[in-house]
């Protein structure tokens, strides 16, 4: 009683979350890499820098001394919360020292974790103070909190129309003229923890579907859309429970199969990895493939998608490191590529081709 309705929580909730837009700074970002992405999709990691610096002319600080955010270790309970917070504080310190206040994160687990840490500090200033003490003691550094925390898929979403004007290949099937059917998968920690940190909230985030549509594709809704890719942190890392990861992803593949997707786009490095690799495992275990003619469904990250549409060479983006071949997609989109260049090394040497899986097609 005595509290007018205007101050209840109702007023903080956007009427339709899917129309919600978050704050994404225009320029001047400090960039932190993803552990998983740089191992398995290093091309995506690197091409983002080119995209931002060259195509969007954004000022980006690429620091060589930041570390992991400890996200995986945190979610498998290896490191204590205090450790995670202090390591994150160190990243913020590096950002501060470099003169930046906008923090650009490549990994969705990191993105969720930074948001969580900032939320804890917001609610408990005494914890923030304690972390400042830890950091000072361990490294002698101090930090400012970032003004704007953004995921790489956010920034591509923000400039999707600008990029769409420049793209060379649209998400359109060159043979039929039809838009490509695209499954978007949002990493769980992008908006499920904090809906207000994601474009479009937690239920219908538009960060990928909006970009896909801007590039000419058709975004597909399917059952199990919001289901986790199945990473499960410790569930995946331990072989004994890896069936959890595989089974969860399998459910998603079975649910999307009737919609005949041409492409899966994910914004989280882990999800990209799992959708790519589990298709191989399922083909070996069950003799099942989900694309046409023994192909899998190609899996791209937002960075890879943008770069591919802009006309960057698929191998420069590192698409040859996918286990599920991207060639069917390249052909549909009419992307010009040289199959002979696929396995060329840094020195220019033609490397011996990788082994071909039993069933899943390779090129």
């Amino acid at each position: 009683m005595r509290t007018p309705i205007m101050t209840t929580k109702a007023s903080n909730i956007p009427f339709l979350w899917r129309e919600y837009q978050k704050e994404i700074a225009d320029d001047h970002y400090y960039y932190v890499r993803s552990c998983i992405r740089q191992n398995f999709f290093p091309g995506a990691e690197q091409i983002l820098i080119t995209l931002l610096k060259k195509d969007l002319e954004i000022d980006l600080c690429v620091d060589s001394e930041h570390t992991t955010c400890t996200g995986i270790a945190y979610h498998v309970d290896l490191v204590k919360l205090e450790t995670t917070m202090t390591v994150n504080a160190r990243q913020f310190a590096l950002m501060t020292e470099a003169g930046y206040s906008n923090f650009l994160v490549s990994c969705v687990t990191s993105f969720g974790l930074y948001n969580e840490v900032l939320e804890i500090w917001e609610k408990h200033p005494e914890i923030e103070e304690q972390v400042r003490q830890y950091l000072l003691k361990a490294t002698g550094r101090t930090f400012n909190k970032p003004k704007n925390l953004v995921h790489t898929s956010d920034i591509i979403y923000k400039y999707k129309d600008l990029l769409a004007d420049k793209i060379r290949y649209k998400l359109i099937n060159q043979d039929t003229g039809e838009p490509l059917r695209v499954i978007d998968h949002i990493g769980c920690h992008y908006a499920k923890i904090f809906p207000e940190k994601g474009v479009g909230g937690a239920e219908y985030p538009s960060v990928l579907s909006g970009t896909v549509q801007a590039f000419g594709g058709r975004s597909i809704d399917y059952p199990e859309r919001r289901m986790c890719c199945g990473f499960g942190f410790r569930q995946y890392f331990l072989k004994s429970s890896r069936g959890y990861s595989l089974s969860t992803a399998y459910k998603k593949f079975k649910a999307m199969e009737p919609y005949k997707p041409d492409l899966i786009v994910a914004n989280c490095p882990g999800c990209n990895y799992f959708f790519d690799r589990w298709q191989y495992v399922i083909s070996e275990l069950k003799g099942e493939t989900f694309g046409e003619e023994g192909n899998g469904i190609p899996v791209l990250s937002a960075e890879e998608l943008a770069a591919l549409c802009l006309g960057y060479d698929p191998w420069e983006i590192g698409l040859h490191m996918h286990q599920t071949a991207v060639e069917p997609l390249l052909i549909k989109m009419g992307v010009r590529f040289d199959p002979d260049e696929k396995y060329r090394g840094f020195s220019g040497e033609q490397l011996k081709k990788p082994k071909i899986p039993e069933l899943l097609k390779a090129y």
Binding site: I5, Y222, E224, R225
Partner: protein, 357 residues
């Protein structure tokens, strides 16, 4: 632009407003009802049959309208409400003024807009309707899914927009459980082979005869009750809907595929009148409904001419609304008597004489 004077202005010609007006009429007061819709009757116009006895909503509406002699103004959009020396002046869009010493707010509730519960799919997938939509289907005698077919399997979802911090309403709407059961029985009567499921957290059937309704729906109509709150839905390629919930009795996640989903939408406060009222801070609870929901101890209520009745003071059934309206009408009568009359005594006892002028 004209100015009209009454003893009491009632905002809202729904069950509560109509009931109060008929009581004030009977006492000889002049009353006007201001209704924003084209016709009076309020939410009665949106119902087909009422719980728990399946009475015709239209018949009840006719009776209530027949019982009042008050002047009813329809299609009124209120622009402002001001407190004056002699009471209140309500001004509408046409600059007409309705003035009276007493103002009774009976604006009712607003059904929760189910679009806001995005994970449920209303407004996104076609085979979703709300309990309000279903009543309309009953009235129009058109029971069909999006493809125009008679449904074979329907699920009722309880607590949509109720007891849910995610949409800013933590209260129980109190009437959705029984609404769902009433509608399930009606559906089953009209489509005998229909399979009906109710997904509930706990059933809140506090009203008289509600439990009878519940048991009848179970035993006679074979409505299946599944304990578990809907978590999310997805659409299959054939436009059927997959429901995801936990069977909380079994302690396991569960799924169910249906042709059609009925969302039992909660009763939310209607904030449209709120900004117009003087001194609102004193009158609104944290749930957005008017009043404080406390027991009005005798002699404690400090009536100042502004009264509230019906579902605008919290979720209520029609009976509860009209009961409250009667009580409040009695208070309005007392207030008006004190304000407008002088007490005198003759050989028969006390008498109230109206001031002249």
């Amino acid at each position: 632009m004209k100015k009209m004077d009454f003893d009491c202005v009632i905002v809202g010609a729904g069950p509560a407003g109509l009931k109060a007006s008929s009581m004030l009429d009977a006492e000889g007061f002049t009353v006007c009802l201001l209704e924003k819709e084209k016709i009076p009757g309020g939410k009665l116009n949106t119902w087909y049959e009422l719980f728990p006895h399946h009475e015709s909503a239209q018949a009840i509406r006719e009776q209530m309208l027949a019982a009042t002699a008050s002047q009813i103004f329809t299609s009124v959009t209120i622009k402002s409400i001001s407190r004056t020396d002699s009471g209140f002046c309500v001004r509408d869009r046409n600059e007409d003024e309705y003035c009276a010493p007493a103002l009774l707010i009976a604006t009712g509730f607003k059904p929760f807009d189910a679009c806001q519960k995005e994970e449920y799919g209303y407004g996104i997938y076609e085979n979703f309707i709300t309990s309000v939509d279903l009543e309309q289907m009953f009235r129009e005698q058109r029971l069909a899914n999006a493809a125009g077919e008679v449904p074979r399997k329907i699920a009722f979802i309880h607590c949509v927009g109720s007891r849910d911090i995610k949409v800013g309403s933590e209260f129980c709407s109190a009437n959705c459980c029984i609404t769902g059961i009433k509608q399930a029985i009606e559906l089953k009567k009209k489509i005998p082979h229909l399979n009906i499921y109710c997904l509930y957290m706990d059933l809140r059937l506090g009203g008289r005869f509600f439990e009878d309704c519940y048991k009848t729906s179970q035993v006679k109509h074979k409505v299946q009750f599944i304990r578990g709150r809907l978590s999310e839905t997805n659409e299959n390629p054939d436009q059927t809907i997959i429901l995801r919930y936990e069977d909380t009795l079994a302690g396991k996640p569960a799924k169910l595929t249906v042709d059609m989903v009925v969302l039992l939408v909660g009763m939310h406060p209607d904030p449209s009148i709120l900004n117009l009222l003087p001194d609102i801070d004193e009158q609104v609870g944290s749930d957005g409904f008017f009043g404080d929901g406390m027991i009005d101890q005798e002699g404690q209520s400090m009536d100042d001419g502004l009264f509230f009745a019906g579902a605008c003071t919290g979720p209520k059934s029609i009976i509860q609304s009209t009961d409250e309206a009667s009580t409040v009408a009695f208070r309005v009568i007392q207030y008006l008597k004190e304000k407008l009359h002088t007490e005198t005594e003759d050989q028969h006892g006390k008498l109230w004489i109206r001031h002249s002028g």
